[in-house]
Amino acid sequence: MNILEHFGRYMVMLKDLFTRPDNKYMYGKEIFRQMNNIGVGSLLIVGIISLFVGAVTAIQFAYQLDTSFLPPYILGFIIRDSVIIELAPTLSGLLLAGKVGSNLSSELGTMRISEQIDALEIMGVNSRNYLLGPKIWAAVLIVPPLIIIAAFLGVSGGYLAAVNTGISPAMYEKGLMYMFKSYNVFIMMVKSTVFAFLVASIACYQGYFVKGGAIEIGKASTRAVVLGSIFIILFDYFITLLLT
């Protein structure tokens, strides 16, 4: 299959997300289950990484600020904006492309080769709508709050590291409040929503259309992670270009 055929099949798959569910209650229940898997299941790793990324960024900038004439409170300002605009959504997005992307594609791939998807179809269930819809909508709903938590932890990590490098808490807080634009939070939300959609839909596409056996599931899982990461970086560039 060439790229255009893949794109066409991907679009047809997305169309089924907007068809009426066979059973709204079961669909809703599945969305909550997936929100739990994707959101709560990723909270720990996203939290730890965000905390340390914020801390490392703070140490790095504190080191560079040592040799400049900039006031020390600027550190809080730099951490805040870099975490909100870039680090929290993009790093978390890449992390989710690995964790959630591989998980979704291998789950669907296994369902495909063990004929569970065929079983749904024979029952008369629209398998794309029932299996893919809740996963994608759950990601779109749960990833933005997850990234808000990541941003909060990133800024907190920065605070802890900054205080350890000798910057006073008051200075850091002053920097955090300095020239705050709520528009940056809007950019973060746009990025996190788009990244969530990309990660989940690409993983679903790769997993749902698996043919063959265990090796193909592994390959599909790898493709989901690689393509998810590439598309996150590409869309990161375009969204930043468009919104800043």
Binding site: D22, N23, Y25, M26, T110, M111, S114, E115, Q116, D118, A119, E121, I122, M123, G124, V125
Partner: protein
């Protein structure tokens, strides 16, 4: 009753089904037999609509399945139950949830009614006390029984079984065969069963359709299978020494030796 009229199916340049016609009868187990690669699974997948035949017609009673829209096909599919080769149970659900799934999806039954129905189906397949277990925690034979319970939970008119005995020991295979036969007659279902298990072919009273290289090479009752003059079928059936011996004994008995 399912009437199959001259269906063909190809994948790329390989023609798997080369024009098969047959009638699959109600209240009977219709066994489709043949060597690996003879087209049995493709034939079954065409019947249930997982593959679209290239040509030909499939009539469920009087409704032409191949001419129906997706929505209309869904109505027919709700009358179909299917037992897959690997059972195809949903890993994330317990035995009880697996059997209850079609009821949750397509009925407005109360929780009590659903529970009663699930209990009835699990009891019917002789599976009690496994309600809360996950598919990964039960044996292959139990998984097949859960698969049968799930297939019959919506009172289907048609039951498809794709190699129900694969991977099972001979004793469990006999139990599964018996169960399928009993359910077929008890609920007057049209059952279609793909198999290469000759014990099933001989043990289950029903119709046999023999496929060879994508063509129907023979059909008849299971009673006639052992005494037929079709060379291809005989090569297939009497591949094992054990069955050759049975045939020799049967022939000797007839001759009074």
């Amino acid at each position: 009753m399912i009437t199959v009229q001259n269906i063909t199916k190809s994948f790329a340049d390989k023609q798997v089904l080369k024009g098969i016609s047959t009638v699959l009868e109600t209240g009977k187990v219709n066994m489709v037999i043949g060597t690996s690669g003879s087209g049995k699974t493709v034939f079954m997948k065409c019947l249930v609509g997982l593959f679209e035949p290239d040509s030909g017609h499939i009539l469920y009673d009087t409704t032409d399945f191949t001419e129906l829209s997706i929505k209309e096909k869904k109505q027919i599919r709700m009358k179909i139950g299917m037992l897959f080769q690997g059972s195809a149970l949903f890993d994330s659900m317990t035995v009880e949830e697996n059997v209850q799934f079609p009821l949750n999806m397509f009925t407005n039954m109360t929780a009590k009614e659903k529970k009663d129905r699930v209990d009835f189906c699990l009891e019917r397949v002789n599976l009690v006390g496994a309600h809360k277990k996950y598919p990964g925690e039960i044996s292959g034979g139990m998984m097949k029984r859960v698969g049968i319970a799930r297939a019959i939970v919506l009172n289907p008119q048609y039951l498809f079984c794709d190699e129900p005995n694969s991977g099972l020991d001979p004793q469990t295979s006999l139990l599964i065969d018996k169960l399928i036969e009993e359910i077929t007659t008890e609920f007057n279902i049209t059952t279609i069963m793909n198999t290469h298990d000759m014990n099933s072919v001989i043990g289950i009273n029903g119709k046999v359709v023999f496929l060879h290289q994508g063509l129907k090479a023979w059909e008849g009752s299971n009673k006639d299978v052992l005494h037929n003059d079709n060379q291809l079928l005989n090569d297939f059936i009497f591949a094992s020494e054990f069955l050759k011996e049975i045939r020799r004994e049967a022939a000797n008995n007839r001759l009074g030796l």
